[in-house]
Amino acid sequence: MTTPNPNPSPTLLKPAKPVGIIGYGAYVPRYRLPAREVARVWTGGKGGLPIKEKAVPGLDEDVITMSIEAARNAMKRAQIDPTELRAVWVGSESHPYAVKPTSTVVAEAIGAVPNTQAADWEFACKAGTEAMVAAMGLVGSGMGHYAMAIGMDTAQGKPGDALEYTAGAGGGAYILGPAEESLAVINASYSYVTDTPDFWRREYQKYPEHGMRFTGEPAYFKHVSEAATHLMEASGTTAKDYKWAVFHQPNTKFPQRVAGQLGFSKEQIEPGLLVPVIGNTYAGAAMIGLTATLDIAQPGDRILVVSFGSGAGSDAFDIVVTDKVTERAGLATKTQEYIARRAEIDYATYVRYRGKLAMK
């Protein structure tokens, strides 16, 4: 005997009980490397620049410390006791250890241990949003009341490679809980994945490889478009129904172009388009784009979020902001405040901060 699927569209990922975002928090490190500095060193200043500048972590920062700060910001907005969290999940492709979880250190630092799930997630740039989908499931099934999902990265590009201009650092943390307590309800999500070899890093390799032009059409554009289109069709919405949209942003052009193809305007993606000023934050990119959008959102605003991870896949979310956003957005440092707190560095300082100098 089979039970009927309650979802209006059986391919949507929609929890049995409605869930939403209780709190959210961003983090961007202080240092900025202008793209023109990379061009100065590698191309004699010639050629177009994919962004203005990227965020660079300090010598004492990594995905663990950055996740802790974003998580603390999310806790400030959620106004819950950390011992009420039943999951602390961190998605990243730059976990500091090959073996030893990021999530247990974060959970310990925010006071969520020991009665909690903790896990590290990986899926290139969509590791954060897949943790979010899982958190929807944990909360929406009633297994736990609150769950935290973080997307954070300190991405590295090979010196002189096209990725070195954009590989940035930052991300966001989300606490999911029952819809009635939330500052934004997540109506549904949808995931679209295939085996696509656009970008990878083998074990023990410091820098990733990419399939050059393969990264565009068959990877980013195909997966982001399919995920967005399917979610909107199944939800009975079009681009016009959304006040804002956030797309994964490896550079400035890709999200602008995919937004246009899907019928979204420049204004709709403007608050969440942070790549020109912080770079591609990989697993953090869609997550921090949403934090900046929630910072300025008004009750009733509908938001489409679509991540992309190489390998490849996209997670799409249909979100509606509630009136609780008004009182909670101001309880922690806003994303644009982190972006404004900038100290410019030159290429030599960048090389030191990112450990690119062989000391022995």
């Binding site: 202080r30 300090g58 010598l59 004492d60 920062e61 990594d62 663990i64 410390t65 802790i68 700060e69 500091p96 250890y97 250190v105 310990e108 630092a109 925010i110 006071g111 100290a343």
Partner: protein, 130 residues
Amino acid sequence: MEIPRHWRLKKQRYGLVGEVCPHCDAKIFPPRDVCPNCGDEAKELYTFSGKGEVYSYTTIYEAPAGYDTNAPYTVAIVKLEEGPMVTAQLTDVDNDRVEIGMPVEMVTRKMRNDGDERGLIVYGYKFRPR
């Protein structure tokens, strides 16, 4: 290798968790289970706000082993809002911009590797301008 010590101190180091005296309400950091104010037993955990100001400072150019990759950096005595003084590194600050009375807030950062890059990463509190 000091793994047991790092493990034992993690709560106070990651989150500035000290104690509060149940008798005179003094806030205690680092935790020592005896109130320095009234001398009674004090074991109740208390998480500090992390806010304070620079009481005194010095910039380190010749750093001890394990910290040398971060030099030069500034170490400060920070007076916490709740009263106690704590010695800690400052971060996210230009060393020549530090001054007495500067408002700071706690952040959790990488302190050093235990041994070399194969060892445990030690995390702990530092302070940055707020």
